[in-house]
Homo-oligomer: 361 residues x 3
């Protein structure tokens, strides 16, 4: 929705932010854009100092940045302490969230079992399947190709993008979003070895996804063998993430793409895992932990720690270790040189000993 | 199905197990549950000693555990050598496997080509597509959103969960289960470089999946360029696994989530690969090999070996290497100290040599 | 299409290749096959010297190989400098590419919005969904279970295999192929931290896929937060690849399975990334770069370099480092021995010093 720079500053102030406008308060803004691509009527922002030089060339009609950054006089500026938070608010203000097409509530084209119950104002798109005894909350949107298995309970304002599959008995809270082709509640790798073969153990547990979770595309979250696999309130997943059976993830975590958690892992609150991290089974990852990209975690991690490497260790130790690894060839040379020098010293000392009688004896 | 503890012990004995019941044989059991969540009427188990302390607090009506573990008197116990195998059998006994809804055989709502043939008592759910000349065996269950490409042959008692895609000419044996959103038989990365561009090579091979295989969710198994990609009898996959074109996997293997095998790899029987393992192209992985989590395999692995690390080496060597890596900073300090000491020794020896005439000469 | 060996050589010559035929020009060939599986009427090839011994046992009616390789007299041979390119051309000649079933243009069984426009001779299979204001080019093929979101523009001769999901506003060029269950344009991990919670930033950018790109199965390509995520002309992806928001990939790149690129990465032209590579955010990967399997890239990589390892460094350095790592236990032993020897030397020198008066003083 178009607004003037002055109006945008007022809306930021309502969030408790303290914007300072330098320039034309009447400039009309219709779009948020990158410094590189912005043109007339666009507002942009500078958050990562890496891109500071683009201030010289941008054609944006206004830029949001920190007060200590200098910019050409020609630019309209909104100076603010946290430009990233401010531009996020402006994107919501100007563009809003994706608008979803609603379809008539007659369920035509869907495969809905007669025992399923659909909440008020929910949209089930043609091509979706809602199986026996499913309950779907109010205002939910289920896109084509989704399959909701028997006895699932789906909360209010849930959004399932096309081709999401939810196995039987899954519980999903309110305001949960799941992106396309993600699978929730498939059987985990539960087999008992019997005479060299794998005997399948029925996976009778389920998955619970709490309120305000968002899950990316192509993720797989195993149901528990017994009990439940749990994704805590407010946690956000990127894409291609695997969660093993019985694993418990706390509130407000952030998991980047291709993370894999084995079974029966317990993850605390507000944990960040960077891309391609792996965590072995039955470990505990404490609250406020950060795991660096590609970390291979084989021991439990205490609260508040940052771990890195494979096997993962505290980041400071890993960084020192990496520096030393990269200097290993030199270290090895040094040791070789020392060996020669010590041999030479030994030889010279022996020579002197031959000349002189031994000290004692 | 509810049963008494006495009846459950009898059923374990039929499997050749030797349960010893301590407590009330008449206690009724209706559910298997975790030590933590169990209540009245639930049976639980202790397999991983990590959870032993929960015996003190569990409210389970009975617990399966090894004879050498002591437990509070109030608990009914089934003592047995392998509690994990026993509880697996009890889950089957009490809960059984997932029950699948059958639909009428009129194929309404499906997209079945007229030339496809469907076996007796098979269920093709509305929203599935069965393409030209496909043959599907007896009792198969094909869920909504599945696509079975031209000329595929699908065995008896096969179970395809929603949105599985099977490309043309794939052969799937009996009792195979494939979880949602897995793709079988897509083209591999087959291109010839021609003047700096990639010229696509038609991938005219196919995929064969033998009897009793189970494949997790969101996996991708490339068809062969020529010949076949093969998954051997009884092998089990977790989720998000990638198998390259022409790779051959033997019988009774277990692959954990996010494993990636390049093309033309040959894997023996009864191989275990932990999470996020990668194997380079054209290698041979022997029988009974174990690859540790995140192993990066760049050389063939002989039968019976356990490899770990990146590049992967025998586990004993890798464990020693890791310990030494973690002590690298100290080692480096020691070498620095030695350098100083050797320099000092050299200086002192030189001083003495200046005082005294050289030994010889 | 069946042909004689003589005719096949003529067709290779038309590509500018210089085949030399040794044997029966009239031999009829109907199939390309592996050395191992080939039989009467099949032509095979030898490209990887690893398989040379199979020349002794193959039952192929002809083999394509380099002129310097010797083979049994009984075999018909096509000698040529690049057997891999030649066999690629022969696969096209004899087998051609996959033939796709066309359906009537009446759109029956599809969910097409009234505002969508479909090009001439395009096939939209039943079970596909084409949403509002979508434009699909001529000759495109959209398989069942695909979902094309609002306002997408899809080029001519595009091929989307079953269950591909394309989010709103995606732009796809001509002759693009996308394999099953891949998702294009889902929201990336865009959240601003607000009081310990994650505030979702609307992802108002989009994805652009240029001409002649092929994307494997189960990949996820995030839309940009602002602006676009771009996959350059002629680039090819294998399976299970994750691309973060705003990342730009150049022309003619090759990405192997399970590669993960974070957001705002810039990748040049003709870059090769082997399996399970990870690249951190905001980096620049130059033209003609090669990243070895499992590389963890945390710094930008200049043009033409080959990087390996975690953290990734130039391949020569990494190989040296790995050799030294594997010899760390010995190095550590050597240092321990040196410590003892230096201590011994110091002791002996001290003894002599006790005997004799100090050199000076």
């Amino acid at each position: 929705m178009e607004a003037t720079l002055g109006e945008l500053c007022e809306s930021l102030a309502k969030y408790g932010m303290k914007p300072v406008l330098k320039g034309d308060a009447g400039q009309r803004i219709g779009r948020v854009n990158t410094l590189e691509d912005a043109g007339e009527g666009d507002i942009s922002f500078l958050s990562n100092p890496k891109y500071e030089k683009m201030l010289g060339t941008t054609e944006a009609s206004a830029v949001v940045l920190r007060p200590d950054i200098s910019a050409p006089d020609r630019l309209n500026l909104i100076q603010i302490d946290d430009p990233y938070a401010a531009i996020s608010a402006l994107i919501v203000q100007i563009h809003g969230y994706r608008r979803h097409r609603r379809v008539p509530p007659d369920m035509s084209g869907t495969h809905k079992h007669e025992t399923a119950r659909i909440g008020q104002n929910a949209t089930i798109h043609p091509g979706a399947t809602i199986d026996e005894e499913v309950m779907i909350g109010d205002n939910a949107i289920i896109y084509p190709g989704c399959y909701i298995g028997p006895r699932c309970r789906i909360g209010n304002n849930v959004l399932l993008y096309p081709n999401v599959v939810v196995y039987d008995d899954t519980i999903i809270g309110d305001r949960v979003t799941i992106h396309s082709n993600t699978v929730i509640g498939e059987d985990g790798l539960g087999y008992a070895p019997v005479e060299g073969k794998w005997f399948k153990i029925p996976q009778i547990g389920h998955v619970e996804i709490e309120d305000d979770v968002e899950i990316g595309a192509n993720c797989s979250i195993d149901r528990a063998t017994l009990g439940r696999t749990r994704i805590g309130r407010g946690t956000k997943f990127s894409n291609l993430i695997a969660v093993g059976h019985g694993t418990q993830i706390g509130e407000d975590c952030l998991l980047v793409a291709q993370v894999g958690l084995a079974g029966s892992v317990t993850v605390g609150r507000h944990v960040t895992m960077a891309g391609q991290v792996g965590v072995a089974g039955h470990l505990r990852i404490g609250d406020d932990v950060t795991l660096g990209a590609k970390a291979g975690v084989v021991n439990s991690v205490p609260d508040g720690q940052t771990y890195l490497g494979q096997p993962a260790i505290p980041i400071r130790d890993m960084r020192r270790q990496v520096v030393h690894q990269q200097h290993l060839p030199e270290l090895s040379q040094t040791v070789k040189r020392l060996e020669k020098e010590v041999a030479e010293l030994r030889r010279r000392l022996a020579e002197r000993n031959e000349d002189a009688p031994p000290a004692r004896g």
